[in-house]
Assembly symmetry: C2
Homo-oligomer: 256 residues x 2
């Protein structure tokens, strides 16, 4: 059975999609078979991997509501070992549609059961909220990776996220754990960024990865080319950081 | 009757809260009586204005669900002409609670009716989604201000936002218009940022404010002091930009 990692944080713009796409690519580069699920109605992960609209006709919305099996929605990315289940426009209405379904928090978990044999890792990119889509990801997942922007306002929301993960562990998913916290958009020249990093390491200890992701313009250029930064510019600081992160994540996974 | 401006964009981390807080402060500085409503469960606008938890006991959640009149939730900020209705922890459950209420999209509009005589402008800070909280803000508002980060992924979501505003105008709020689009975190040294700015101006024309907000570290430091950047560092490029933006917004408002 593959490991399911959800990339979650209700704070917006902290690097969830960037981490999901580039970590998935880095893991695929070291021969892990990876499926990336784009559970955000914005569809940024699908765009970042160059999936155009005509390949999103069957997508995670249909899988979530039980209208299509997972295999019908899986799309190749052209990157070896990496496939994706794209997002779709319908997904923005999904949270309201899920409300009246029994076990509404477990729709994704059910849709994925016994469908995952051909992968080693499943990564789920979440929207910036703690609504029913993110709840479905937390119930289906084995572990959570939390991207945390090295900014003051991003720090404020962490305790709400940790409380939500605790609640899901108690009521719906006893195995759920925080795999780690990754500091993103770190700028060594900026005092605030250094301050946030030291606060986070003090508070969360070894849960925080040693690897941090630097602010790097090549990372923000890559999605406009429909490519992960590892493919767009392998020599960049951003690519190196995500390869290091993949190494660290896989080491933690082996230690399980 | 005051003008109600909602600051909305479902893309996360684009500067909604930063714009709501600093624009409100700049308008208050030129003697407009301003009320800022924090409709985001994260409560970042409340924090950015130094409202501590004990002053959030009665908040926008209670007003939205009709449990308290607006006047019970209004809190002074210490800044002349500026008051705030803070967010509260309960707000994260509000979207699910609103679903079964009749006219669920109009709860905020009803709560604000006939309660606004002491203000000139009401600004509403929205969460990063197009769910029921943002929908309530769009139904209650006269106009929308859209902060747009000068990044490729932020550009992708704009058409979804414009379609949603169109839909709200047709079904719930015929007066709703886009007051303007403000480019945030603009970095003149970065090609991508320049490229996004020229694309946006070409596509949206005069809807885009002439004023742009530069990336400025003083802006991101200010919330940790519980102050808007205009109070934290009036001489900074960030403060100057928000004062310019307030001037432009007020000019457009007078032209109405
Ligand atoms: N390390 C980095 N260096 C530079 N830019 C970055 C970095 N990480 C992310 N970005 C850019 O910052 C913006 C926000 O990142 P991203 O979209 O991945 O965050 P998110 O948490 O997925 O946002 P949302 O909450 O909207 O889903 C994007 O434009 C992205 O390209
Ligand atoms: N012009 C700027 N220069 C530097 N930093 C900025 C600027 N504008 C905003 N920031 C910082 O960027 C981060 C995101 O901004 P902000 O929280 O205002 O966005 P948001 O759209 O309200 O996010 P969310 O989608 O989570 O509500 C914050 O840490 C903020 O301090
Ligand atoms: Mg994202
Ligand atoms: Mg905000």
């Amino acid at each position: 059975r593959p490991r399911i990692l959800t990339i979650s944080n209700q704070k917006g713009g902290v690097g969830k999609t960037t981490t999901a796409v580039n970590l998935a690519t880095a893991m695929a580069a070291v021969n892990k078979r990876v499926l990336l699920i784009d559970l955000d109605p914005q569809g940024n992960a699908s765009t970042s991997l160059g999936i155009d609209q005509k390949h999103r006709a069957v997508n995670i919305y249909h899988v979530l509501l039980g209208d299509a099996p997972l295999s019908d929605a899986v799309v190749p990315t052209g990157i070896p070992n990496l496939s994706v289940v794209p997002s779709g426009a319908d997904l923005s209405g999904a949270e309201l549609e899920l409300v009246d379904i029994e076990d509404r928090q477990a729709c994704l978990k059910k849709a994925l059961e016994n469908q995952l044999d051909s992968w080693d890792f499943i990564l789920i990119d979440c929207p910036p909220s703690l609504g029913l889509l993110t709840l479905n990801a937390l119930v289906a997942a084995d572990a959570v990776m939390v991207p945390l922007q090295a900014e003051f306002l991003a720090l404020e929301g962490i305790s709400q996220l940790v409380r939500t993960i605790e609640r899901v562990r108690k009521t719906f998913n006893p195995n759920l754990e925080i795999q780690g916290i990754v500091l993103t958009m770190v700028d060594r020249r900026n005092n605030l960024s250094e301050q946030v990093e030291s606060d986070v390491r003090e508070y969360f200890g070894t849960k925080v990865y040693t690897t941090t992701i630097p602010r790097n313009v090549r990372i923000s250029e890559a999605p406009s080319h429909g490519k992960p930064v590892l493919i767009y510019d392998l020599q960049s600081k951003g690519s190196k950081a995500y390869l290091d992160l993949a190494g660290e994540v896989l080491k933690r996974e082996q230690g399980l």
